[in-house]
């Protein structure tokens, strides 16, 4: 089981009436934490719900830890801790009682559920508020109690749907820190869905970008970081297209965004060669900067409709 991918999608399609929400998704994802990015309506929540067995695939299937979502949904749910996007609580219940109830529904015996509920509430930082009714909690506390109930039964896969929704900056930082801690513990895999690039970038190793129900881009952020592939971003005083063709002739990988040129230098080529080439054609380089391909760049390219696949 150790080497099994966390999530596998096999030609997975989901259709609501005539509307095809997820379109033939394919892929195998094994990262400790997997990010699910996409604009509103891209199909992130539908994909999560389908993986949990709430929606039936209209075609294809998916697997979590090797178990088919069509046939083993109960077994899969035993391994999953789910933190939904929207408010989910019983207003009259105290935090501790709510988490304990959900722990027991996950199969924990009563005493263990109580013990784990206390631990989970302390872990997320709600130890002092655990005997208060959930209806009196602030938005940030409600998010944290959702995280506590997702953790109480010790899941193998933690699914977080927009975990920082509605949080102020300090609460958001705290939530991301918790997610990071859980990830680093190495005992649980995380699937984090968000439309906030920063959240995914700091918390995830792999990123799936969904666009209109399709995987627009799959990116292994960890591999990108390891490769430390930096590129140079520069701006010229006009003649940007001419300069692009010149440095492409030198073996550079190039992309032009308006007046900005992004380029990766081939081995043996240095920055001074760029200046030399510019000087020969009387082109002024006005700005030059080292950059790393940020998730924002990847996301924007995906949304602009550039070809997907591994970057």
């Amino acid at each position: 089981m150790v080497d099994q991918p966390v999530i596998e999608l096999c030609n997975l399609s989901v259709r609501f009436g005539r509307l095809e929400v997820l379109k033939k998704l394919e892929g195998s994802f094994s990262g400790q934490s997997i990010g699910l990015l996409g604009p509103n309506g891209a199909g992130k929540t539908t994909l999560i719900r389908t993986l949990m067995g709430f929606h039936s695939p209209s075609e294809g299937t998916g697997r979590i830890f090797g178990r088919d979502i069509r046939q083993n949904s109960k077994e899969i749910r035993q391994w999953i801790g789910y933190m939904p996007e929207n408010d989910s609580f019983v207003a009259s219940m105290t935090g501790i009682r709510f988490v304990r109830l959900l722990g027991e529904l996950s199969g924990l015996p009563s005493e263990e559920a109580m013990e784990r509920a206390h631990e989970a509430m302390f872990y997320v930082g709600l130890g002092e508020a655990r005997y208060r009714a959930l209806g009196t909690y602030s938005t940030g506390m409600k998010q944290l109690v959702k995280l506590a109930q997702a953790l109480v039964h010790g899941p193998r896969l933690l699914i977080l749907d927009e975990p920082t929704n509605g949080l102020d900056p300090p609460a958001r930082r705290r939530m991301l820190k918790l997610v990071e801690e859980i990830r680093k513990s190495g005992r649980v895999n995380i699937l984090l869905s968000s439309h906030l690039l920063r959240d995914v970038e700091v918390s995830c190793e792999e990123v799936i970008i969904l666009k209109e129900g399709e995987i627009a881009v799959y990116c292994d952020l960890e591999e990108e970081r390891r490769a430390n592939r930096k590129f140079i971003e520069l701006e010229t005083q006009g003649q940007a297209e001419v300069f692009v063709s010149i440095i492409q002739g030198m073996g550079c990988e190039c992309a032009l965004y308006g007046e900005r040129i992004k380029t990766v230098l081939p081995p043996g080529t240095e920055i001074r060669d760029l200046f030399k080439a510019a000087a020969e054609r009387d082109i002024q380089i006005r700005r030059l900067d080292y950059k790393r391909d940020s998730l924002q760049d990847i996301f924007l390219r995906a949304m602009e409709g550039e070809p997907g696949g591994r970057l």
Partner: protein, 286 residues
């Protein structure tokens, strides 16, 4: 875990059997119910009639007590099908009030703030959820209806002789069957209304309306259309017809047993349909 050692720990211990997890729901629900003084007081009050019945049975078989109270034996009502039918009818009214008190909060509290996805994302199905919630009403209504009445039958048998029980075996069976039908119908109706109406007072009023208003509606249909089919909307009449058949008594309603069964099955089916449409892990937006 000590508070200062805050770190995520996976759970490695044993888990409870999946088939018994629905019992968690009534356990938590009863803890909540016992906190309500109104529910508790009413629940205790529900035993007054069976206790009065037991006292009556005791007097019926205690000639000395009758002499002391100067009550002639001939004037006391007989303890037969009619006696238990009356008690069941009275207890069923109390059951109905209990459903108005308890029923509305059972599901609506989970739906009010969208807690259902958190139940259903676990190895816990919609059926488990409904059975769990329903068992709260089943246990409560059983304690009000067939449990005390069956105890009363046994008490009477112990005084009248066990041959009475053998000769009148139909009575305890009728109590059991009649109460079961009542519990099933009221529980499903209460849960269905609780699932659709989030505001508790309105849900309670709607449950009451299902009996009183629908009885009036049934009468109006009968008067206007010159038929008796309107009785199908009258839950009280449906139950009375069926119980009369169970107790082998003359029914005062103008309805056949088949019509009563059809009406009750329809109520159950509609309630189940309403529950299945509302109890989902996600909101269906069209």
């Amino acid at each position: 875990m000590a508070v200062y050692k805050r770190s995520y720990q996976a759970y490695q211990g044993r888990v409870t059997p999946r088939s018994l997890r629905f019992l968690v729901i009534p356990r938590f629900a009863f803890q909540d119910l016992l906190r309500s003084r109104i529910v508790l007081a009413f629940f205790v009050g529900c035993f007054v009639a069976p206790l009065a019945g037991a006292l009556f049975v005791y007097l019926r078989y205690n000639l000395r007590a009758l002499e002391l109270l100067q009550l002639p034996l001939q004037e006391l009502a007989a303890i037969d099908s009619g006696f238990f039918f009356f008690l069941l009818s009275f207890q069923s009214f109390l059951s109905f009030v209990m459903v108005i008190l308890v029923g509305p909060g059972l599901i609506s509290m989970d739906l009010a703030n969208n807690a259902l996805p958190l139940y259903l994302c676990r190895p816990f199905t919609r059926s488990d959820y409904v059975v769990g919630k329903m068992s709260v009403l089943v246990v409560l209504l059983s304690l009000i209806t067939w449990v005390p009445l069956t105890a009363l039958v046994l008490f009477h048998s112990s005084l009248a002789g066990w041959s009475w029980l053998l000769e009148n075996l139909r009575i305890p069976l009728a109590i059991l069957a009649g109460a079961s039908v009542l519990i099933l119908v009221l529980s499903l109706l209460g849960l269905a209304i609780s699932a659709w109406v989030k505001w508790r007072p309105v849900a309670g009023a709607l449950i009451a309306g299902m009996v009183f208003v629908m009885a009036g509606f049934a009468q109006a249909v009968n008067e206007i259309l010159g038929t008796t089919w309107g009785n199908l909307f009258n839950l009280g009449l449906l139950l009375e017809t069926l119980w009369s058949w169970f107790f082998d008594m003359e029914s005062s309603t103008e309805m056949s047993v088949g019509q009563a069964i059809f009406g009750l099955l329809t109520i159950c089916a509609v309630s189940l349909l309403l529950l299945s449409r509302k109890l989902r892990a996600y909101e269906v937006v069209k």
